[in-house]
Symmetry: C2
Amino acid sequence: MATTAPKLEARGGESRREALLDAAAEMFAAKGYDGTSIRDIAGAVGMLPGSLYYHFKSKEDLLIAVYRKGVARFEAAIDQALASTGADPWQAIEAACAAHLSILLDGGDYARIVNPEFVRSFPAEMLPTLNAERDRYERHFEKLIAALPLAAETDRWLFKVALFGSLNWSQTWYRKGRYTPQDIAAAFIGMLRKQDA
Amino acid sequence: MATTAPKLEARGGESRREALLDAAAEMFAAKGYDGTSIRDIAGAVGMLPGSLYYHFKSKEDLLIAVYRKGVARFEAAIDQALASTGADPWQAIEAACAAHLSILLDGGDYARIVNPEFVRSFPAEMLPTLNAERDRYERHFEKLIAALPLAAETDRWLFKVALFGSLNWSQTWYRKGRYTPQDIAAAFIGMLRKQDA
DNA sequence: GAGGCTACCAAACAAGTGTTTGCTATGGCA
DNA sequence: TGCCATAGCAAACACTTGTTTGGTAGCCTC
């Protein structure tokens, strides 16, 4: 009965925009950007196609919003993982990998949008915008790798892309049950960690 | 002046079909399956859209033909690489990886189609057909990995997906010049090869 | 030189696309 | 009570899509 309550969302409000984002993420992940129509997305939340344009000014605009939310999830997960990790660099990167995998594999539909190979199907003119978001995220890993006591001849750039490849590829084969994200992270880091280091 | 020459391809013949395949591979790789129209492909070889249906009975049919050709290139490359390699299992898998990368990175547009993350954008009903082709190819690598003297605790399945991930991810970052496929293969295998094995 | 096959053109079809426009019911605020 | 922003409906617009259909020039064979 509070009279000062911000009474927005009477019949919809901000939550409707969120519902559209969720529906878009789900359908983009399932059928791709081109394979999903404005009518599909609007219909999923019981809305007519034209009404969606009250919340987003274009289909691309909607995609960018979904993508941003996806990247934000990854960043939040790794921030949290690193906050509760000791100083050992191998332990730190394993924790970061586990966090990355847990979002990638069990993080819902938003996470699937962020995959660069997925992004390739988007309109070309928006690639710079999207890639900038992702590059910033990858820099977290570059820092972690810089701190590793690797053999002198190891190329740290190739180390990074090798690790990232292994991690992101897991989207291709992962099925719930057999391995946990932690299992996979531990195994991958274990393989890359020379016994004598 | 040979009178017995197989005079096909007078105005087109089999070479026209091949030209369509090339154009389709190029445009699928560049703009995706949905992003490429029949009109684009036909136009690229100076043909009207309807005429394409003389050579292929549908757009999906065309895609399958391109995909098959892509897989065949990978198989031919690794067959050849393994034929000229000694018995050392590490050397063998490094050669296979280098062959895989050379096709993936410098093998033209056909190779890009084979990427599973790319395939995800295709019509769902054709995935079984395409995946069967690819699984057969991956089995070559499983055999090579089975022969490796890995540490007892190493999960060879995870080893395979880690390696495949690193290899295929290179499509995302590779630019001509800095590294050769052989460089990358050697570096990746070097990282995965424990010093004491 | 008549028939038939190859390879293609020309034109349309039905369906689906992203987007725009004009309008309207609802609730909060002065 | 009147006003105004919110949130959405209803209907269309202009365009692109994969595909089909009927026709036809050129070559090969008999």
